[in-house]
């Protein structure tokens, strides 16, 4: 497309991604972003505008504090992206598009991706009245720039990266230990699958509440030997325990999803990190305080529960100074770096238009709570653009409670969502193998179950410490608080059980109340002595 002197676009208040997409994909000497009705913006829309400004500068590092609070040792260079020429962008605030007097020039390009259709219509009418020759364009979901005047249709070779889109849509920085490989996925499609007969529904789920369970109570696994030979790689299966504990499923799922034609990128175990260093350190020090090995690397005063807001403020400063100190030992830095995330997913696949958020369960069935948690977590992070799925080792593929439950070999078919939508997908079955040759299912399911070993007193103590730390660094119960409790092995059950435990064992002692309707906000926990 030809170089345009000026790009005009509208700020999309509910999600700045379309506006950013226009700024990134069009050629321009200068750009004007129309901010319409700003004084009526709600808090989220104001934050969205701020997020767009940070995106334009190529980093989320200074989003919360303009000074350089994030030390180099924690901030990874790959978390940044290419900035646009933000000094050439003008934000033009208009009360109302219908009463505005925008002056157009010949060769202006107006991108209509953002804003309501009525607004777009009004821009078209105003241009027509001005008798100027301008070009109208739109960014399509397939990743193209479409000239609405001529029908010229071009692929965007420098479109927003998955990291930029996650920043713009969700306001988090993504970090990930691994990515799915299309090549490995193609190889994995042909790998032999074994179906192992089971004795119980996995995870102590009762048969009546199990979803996706078959009569054989079986689980499907890949044939390890053949898989390794076929791929020429160990795929994290060098330790036989990994097959039992299920980490292989995250890798296999990510590789298979990477073969889908509309999937641009897949991430294994992605972590979403808040742009505020203070929020990140709060989460990190809370997590670290529960780890006996980790605490040895930190002074006690950074880990103790503060008794007042003032003490908390001082501790926050001390925590920041600690990590900013050049003399801090590398082990401490590593512990903090691995604990600063707000949420962690098993697999995230980014398509042209959506985020597929996958939870993986090496189980022969799941239950409603697992499906519901996955749904809630995905929608909390990506409210308008997420597709929550639950990948498991059972044999079925179905929609249950708003989530697509998919047997992992079914991921070989990129049309699986459509098949599920059309009706029941037939169970996939393989010749049954018997469990005598395999490790004990129960021990496999429970092997990392530290929660089972905790005494009631220890569990109470850990939970009390966690609750006290949340008092001064509030976070939503769902998903943040619950995820931390789970990662710390305080609970191995669902959120309902955890809330009941808090109510029964700690509510009176701490003088707290739980607001069940506010679990996804910071107001879920009320301290009566505040």
């Amino acid at each position: 497309m030809t170089q345009s002197n000026r790009l005009i676009t509208v700020f999309n208040a509910n999600d700045p991604t379309p506006t950013a997409r226009a700024l990134r994909n069009m050629s321009w000497q200068s750009a004007v972003v129309l901010i319409i009705g700003r004084k009526h913006y709600n808090k989220n829309q104001v934050e969205n505008l701020k997020r767009l400004e940070s995106w334009m500068k190529g980093t989320a590092r200074y989003h919360v504090f303009e000074t350089n609070e994030w030390p180099d040792k924690l901030w990874k260079k790959e978390w940044d992206w290419n900035p646009i020429r933000f000094t050439h962008v003008e934000f033009l605030e208009l009360e109302d598009i219908f009463t505005s007097e925008i002056e157009f020039d010949h060769d202006d390009r107006i991108d209509l991706t953002s804003g309501a259709k009525e607004m777009a219509g009004e821009l078209i009418r105003l241009v027509s009245m001005s008798n100027k020759s301008v070009m109208f364009s739109i960014q399509t979901r397939s990743g193209h720039s479409l000239n609405l005047s001529t029908g010229e249709f071009e692929a965007n070779f420098d479109d927003l990266s998955a990291r930029e889109r996650i920043w713009l849509s969700a306001g988090y920085i993504i970090d990930y230990p691994g990515r799915g490989s299309r090549k490995l996925g193609e190889t994995l499609k042909g790998v032999e699958k074994l179906e192992w007969k089971g004795e119980y529904p996995s995870g102590r789920i009762s048969k009546s509440s199990a979803v996706g369970l078959n009569n054989e109570l079986s689980k499907i696994e890949p044939n390890i030997d053949k898989m390794e030979k076929a791929t020429g790689k160990k795929i994290l299966l060098s330790n036989p325990d990994e097959l039992k504990s299920g980490y292989w499923l995250e890798h296999v799922s990510a590789h298979l999803l990477a073969t889908w034609p509309n999937v641009l990128q897949t991430y294994i175990g992605p972590r979403l990190i808040h742009p505020s260093i203070h929020d990140c350190l709060s989460v990190a020090f809370s997590t670290i305080s529960f780890d006996r090995t980790a605490v040895r690397n930190f002074p006690n005063d950074l880990l103790q529960i503060p008794k007042s807001l003032k003490e908390k403020e001082n501790q926050r400063k001390a925590q920041l100074e600690f990590i900013q100190d050049d003399a801090v030992n590398q082990k401490a830095v590593n512990w903090i770096a691995r604990s600063i995330h707000a949420v962690e997913f098993d697999v995230l696949a980014v398509t042209n238009s959506n985020f597929i958020v996958a939870e993986c369960k090496h189980m022969n069935c799941v239950d409603a709570a697992m499906l519901g948690r996955n749904f809630a977590n995905a929608k909390a992070m990506f409210p308008t653009q997420s597709i929550p799925i639950l990948i498991y080792s059972g044999c079925a593929a179905m929609n249950a409670y708003g989530v697509d439950l998919i047997s992992w070999p079914q991921l070989s078919n990129p049309g699986i969502f459509e098949l599920i939508k059309q009706g029941a997908v037939e169970e996939i079955r393989y010749p049954i193998e018997f469990p005598a040759e395999k490790a004990d299912w129960k021990s496999a399911n429970n092997q990392s179950n530290v929660a089972a070993d905790l005494t009631l007193e220890n569990k109470k103590k850990m939970l009390k410490t966690l609750l006290l730390s949340v008092r001064y660094s509030p976070m939503p119960f769902s998903p943040h608080f619950f995820e931390i409790a789970k990662n710390l092995h305080i609970t191995r059950k669902g959120p309902k059980k955890l809330l009941m435990f808090i109510r029964v064992h700690l509510a009176a002692e701490l003088n707290i109340e739980i607001r069940v309707n506010e679990l996804s906000t910071n107001q879920w926990l009320v301290w009566n002595d505040d």
């Binding site: 219908f98 209509l112 991706t113 259709k117 009525e118 777009a120 219509g121 009004e122 078209i124 009418r125 241009v127 027509s128 009245m129 109208f136 739109i138 399509t140 397939s142 479409l146 609405l148 005047s149 001529t150 029908g151 010229e152 249709f153 409603a368 709570a369 499906l371 519901g372 948690r373 749904f375 809630a376 929608k379 409210p383 409670y401 708003g402 669902g494 959120p495 309902k496 809330l499 069940v516 309707n517």
Partner: protein, 258 residues
């Protein structure tokens, strides 16, 4: 009154109905992409049953995946219309990349947009904008039965009584109404009241309430998650709250958000 209004069929049935019910034109031409064929067919069936000499015409246009062909089609079509002062383009229905090319190539036509009712004025109206920017309003209506029928649904025992059906499909526990504030459909169902705190009663309640969630999800597939409101009235156990999709709201939050 216009001689013809050009419109595009989208996900939501409301805008198309509001346009037809306004009687603002002698004829309406609805374009539909390949992806909207099913919506166009159910709408055509419904309108044919209602009035066989319908003033509505349906025209298939290329797929959303071939936007350049849609633009060529629009350009050719509106070239023949540009001198017709009594034609207008309805902007509210359909995707931007489908409807906007029609207007870009004939900006001298009037544009029409739908404004749904709000708190102080529950009626929906069309805003007609002349090429010089002067706007006028035309009241319209979208009766509940029509909004259901255009997606193939009907009530079993009338509005506000539980039960809705579509060919081969029945949802027995859900009632429907129109929101006085937004003009949109509200599908609602009553959660089972908990007579005792015994385990059996709770299991029965959960089973019943699970069915409500499933029925509302079924309806959302016809009317869209954002195209209507979905509500469960009464107490829900945490188990159900954990699994219900975000767009199904409970009463305590519903009126705040509505």
């Amino acid at each position: 009154m216009f001689n013809v209004v050009l419109a595009v069929i989208g996900d939501s049935p409301g805008p198309s109905l509001a346009l037809i019910n306004s009687d603002i034109s002698k004829k309406y031409v609805f374009f539909y992409t390949q992806e909207m064929t099913e919506n166009a067919t159910t709408m055509d069936d419904y309108l044919q049953a209602l009035a066989p000499t319908s003033k509505v015409e349906f025209v298939a246009i290329p797929s959303m995946n071939e936007p350049e062909k849609i633009i060529q089609f629009a350009q050719k079509l509106v070239n023949n219309l540009s001198d017709d002062e009594h034609a207008a383009i309805f902007l509210t229905g359909g995707a931007k990349q489908v409807i906007l090319p029609f207007y870009i190539h004939s900006p001298k036509l009037c544009s029409i947009s739908l404004r749904e009712g709000r708190e102080h004025d529950s009626s929906s109206f069309l805003v007609v904008r002349q090429p010089d920017g002067i706007a006028s309003q035309h009241i319209t209506s979208i009766p509940l039965e029509q909004m259901l029928a255009i997606r193939g649904w009907a009530t079993i025992a009338g509005a506000n009584s539980p039960g809705l059906k579509k060919a081969g499909l029945e949802v027995g526990n859900v009632s429907v109404d129109i929101s006085k504030r937004t003009g949109r459909l509200i599908f609602y169902a009553e959660a089972m009241s908990l007579e005792s705190h015994g385990k059996v009663a709770k299991i029965e309640k959960n089973k019943h309430d699970h069915v409500l969630v499933a029925e509302l999800i079924t309806l959302s597939e016809s009317f869209g998650r954002n195209g209507a409101s979905y509500l469960i009235r009464g107490y829900l156990t945490r188990r159900i709250k954990n699994v219900k999709p975000y767009f199904i709201r409970t009463e305590d939050r519903f009126w705040e958000e509505e």
